[in-house]
């Protein structure tokens, strides 16, 4: 049986760990609320943008003409990994890396052998993890998460779009965690560019719109906007998912610490009882020896 002092110091250390994980849980919970708010606030904009694009009846024609919808000749592929800058959030970041490696090994095995799959990372953790596995990350945008605003994200999104428009890459895919609720993150892999055609029923309500300055100009402006919004939405989603994952992980850690403290307290009490019993035994034995 471990000695009393040892157990006591372990209890103390587990207790202080529990305090930390509990505090981290609280922090994640409050950040989660803010991250969720941001997603909710984005929704009206995203919906309206989609609506306007739909109202311009021949949007699908325009889509096929846009630089961002045409397939280009480059056979290089760009994978964008969205993760977090901080750890302690369960399998959140590892999942992104696992999915990416899965893509490289299966879907893009041929391209990878020819060295044509490139990686860029938003968030430090996935970049670190994938570099350990021997893949080179050509560019990182970690600072985006320090201040997650549309204007900051816009610049990075424009960069991805330019790379595609300049035919450096033939395909851009993005891997990130989608937020479902605090406990559930959906690992998502989407094709960012070229734009995939959605086969939806077009019920174009013909309103005789006046276009200022021209229909083409507006469409050419709106499509890049909706692409930037796509990245922004992915980042907001990932951010909320990260806080959710951290909250769950820290909640579990706190629970585990509580269990551990319970166990340790039990063995502490047992050890204390044993030592008392031993002492009494010694005393009575001594007394008996004297009176005999």
């Amino acid at each position: 049986m471990a000695n009393l002092k040892e157990i006591r110091s372990r209890i103390l250390s587990v207790k202080s760990t529990r305090q930390i994980t509990n505090a981290m849980k609280m922090v994640a919970a409050s950040k989660l609320r803010r991250a969720q708010d941001a997603i909710t606030r984005l929704r009206p904009y995203a919906n309206k943008l989609h609506e306007i694009l739909e109202h311009i009846s021949d949007i699908s024609d325009a889509n096929t003409q846009s630089v961002y919808a045409l397939e280009n000749k480059s056979d290089k592929i760009l994978l964008i990994l969205v993760s977090s800058n901080k750890g302690l959030c369960g399998p959140f970041n590892a999942n992104v890396v696992k999915k990416t490696i899965d893509l490289v090994k299966n879907k893009y095995a041929k391209e990878h052998k020819e060295g044509k799959v490139h990686f860029m990372a938003i968030g430090r953790k996935a970049a670190e993890m994938i570099e350990v596995k021997g893949y080179k990350v050509s560019e990182s945008f970690d600072e985006l998460f320090d201040e997650l605003t549309y204007n900051n994200v816009k610049k990075t999104a424009t960069k991805f779009m330019d790379l595609f428009a300049n035919k450096e890459y033939g395909k851009v895919e993005i891997v990130y965690n989608k937020f479902k609720n605090a406990a559930v993150q959906i690992l998502t892999n989407e094709q960012f560019l070229p734009i995939k055609h959605e086969e939806e029923e077009q019920q174009s309500i013909h309103n005789d719109y006046t276009f200022e300055p021209s229909k083409e100009y507006i469409i050419n402006n709106l499509i890049p906007d909706s692409l930037k919004l796509h990245i922004f939405k992915a980042l907001l989603d990932s951010n909320a998912a990260e806080q959710g994952a951290r909250m769950t992980a820290m909640h579990k850690a706190t629970d585990n610490a509580t269990d551990l403290i319970k166990e340790l307290t039990l063995s502490y009490n047992k050890a204390r009882q044993a030592s008392i019993t031993k002492e009494i035994l010694e005393i009575t034995a001594g007394a008996e020896a004297l009176s005999a």
């Binding site: 941001a38 606030r41 984005l42 009206p44 904009y45 995203a46 309206k48 943008l49 609506e51 306007i52 109202h55 311009i56 605003t149 549309y150 204007n151 309103n207 005789d208 719109y209 006046t210 276009f211 200022e212 300055p213 100009y217 507006i218 402006n221 709106l222 906007d225 919004l229 922004f232």
Partner: protein, 79 residues
């Protein structure tokens, strides 16, 4: 007529208005009740509105797009 001014980060305005002046990319224009359907891209400038009580408010934008349809005006603004 009903006006919404929305950015990716928040909804700036949401409510009934009597008059809106919008900075279109080809010059600014005013919108009154029963305006014809219109989709226009926006330039840098100031949105001026008169709400139900004819009180004026202003919003500065850097661009965006607007849709006017059946007395509903939506402005997707950029900063």
């Amino acid at each position: 007529m009903y006006l919404e001014i929305i950015t990716p980060e928040e909804t700036l305005f949401n409510g009934e208005v009597n008059y809106v002046k919008i900075p279109g990319s080809e010059g600014s224009f005013g919108v009154l009740r029963n305006h014809a359907p219109l989709i226009s891209s926006l330039g840098e400038g100031i949105i001026k509105i008169k709400d139900e009580n004819n009180e004026e408010r202003e919003f500065e934008i850097k661009g965006g797009v607007t849709e006017v349809l059946k007395n509903n005006i939506v402005i997707l603004a950029k900063f």
